[in-house]
């Protein structure tokens, strides 16, 4: 069934069109949501915060976008259980907005890294884990992708099964090899790799399909 999926656009978001196309290719109906406009979150079956460089990554990656008016509605939607996905910069924005725990810091290489990685599905509950596939080959492209959280937060994430995806070979120094996490309710998920760049075999992998498709189906 075709679902209306909201795609957030902040100033400087640059993967919005890619995510939009991927959602369409998966048979859903994407719709752009503008950072400065409030929106009726109830009319969307899922929301996606795409990657890019909102506000140029200035100050801290995601920090300025987290202050956008549209984020008030994202917060409401999150509270009400709407499936929300953050990709790359979207992950950073969700952390800065307090919808996910922890923070994304500079890669241990101190450089931007563009490469293919293998990630493994670790979480098992909630809309974003109903994937039917255990391991995924996906591209990363970021300089602030090293997941960081205090020890007790990390322990809680592990204990509560809120780690969504882990790198098989850690590319950026992420603590506990984390490449994606979930919130407590498991409706908000985010990852650093780009599933929208891996949905057709000509892109080099189509493993991103099932990952995107899982949560876009709507709340369980």
């Amino acid at each position: 069934m075709s679902k209306k999926v909201g795609v957030l656009r902040f100033l400087g978001t640059n993967c919005d069109a890619d995510v939009y196309q991927a959602i369409k290719d998966l048979g859903h109906t994407p719709e752009y949501l503008w950072w400065s406009d409030r929106f009726d979150w109830k009319s969307y079956s899922a929301l996606v915060l795409p990657g890019g460089f909102s506000y140029g990554d200035y100050l801290r990656a995601g920090a300025l976008a987290a202050q956008a008016p549209a984020m008030d509605d994202v917060k409401q939607a999150a509270k009400s259980g709407v499936p929300i996905l953050g990709i790359c910069n979207g992950f950073q924005i969700l952390c800065e907005a307090g919808l996910l725990s922890g923070a994304l810091t500079k890669n241990i290489s101190r450089q931007f890294q563009d490469e293919w990685v293998e990630v493994e599905l670790v979480g098992s509950d909630g809309p974003w884990t109903q994937v039917g596939q255990k391991s995924f080959r996906l591209p990363i492209a970021h300089s602030m992708g090293r997941y960081f959280a205090p020890k007790d937060t990390l322990k809680a994430l592990e204990d509560d099964g809120l780690i969504w995806l882990k790198y098989k070979r850690n590319p950026n120094g992420s603590l506990h090899d984390i490449s994606g996490i979930l919130n407590k309710n498991r409706n908000v998920a985010a990852l650093m790799p780009h599933p929208e760049r891996a949905i057709h075999s000509w892109m080099g992998s189509s493993d991103g399909r099932s990952l995107l498709q899982s949560g876009l189906g709507g709340a369980l």
């Binding site: 506000y55 140029g56 200035y58 100050l59 300025l64 202050q67």
Partner: protein, 79 residues
């Protein structure tokens, strides 16, 4: 002995970061006339005995390594 080095974008140089931060702050209702984003570096020198020599050394590192004189200025302060 600890020294604080403050590095700022030159007055006449464009500060993209400051411009973006300022625009967000103003939208949130703060009244910001100008905003510039720099960085600070704290260095602790092993030898605390010679204040003026130390200050010279910190200035030298600020000039040659910590800042890019083409686009940045710096200030050194004893902590």
């Amino acid at each position: 002995m600890k020294y604080l080095v403050t590095i700022m974008p030159r007055e006449e140089a464009l500060d993209p970061q400051g411009r973006a931060v300022q625009s967000t702050l103003n939208r949130l209702g703060f009244k910001v006339q100008d905003c510039r984003v720099g960085k600070v570096v704290v260095v602790d020198l092993a030898d605390g005995s010679n204040e003026s020599q130390n200050l010279e050394a910190v200035k030298k590192m600020a000039q040659t390594v910590l800042s890019n004189p083409l686009i940045e200025t710096f200030e050194v302060r004893t902590l």
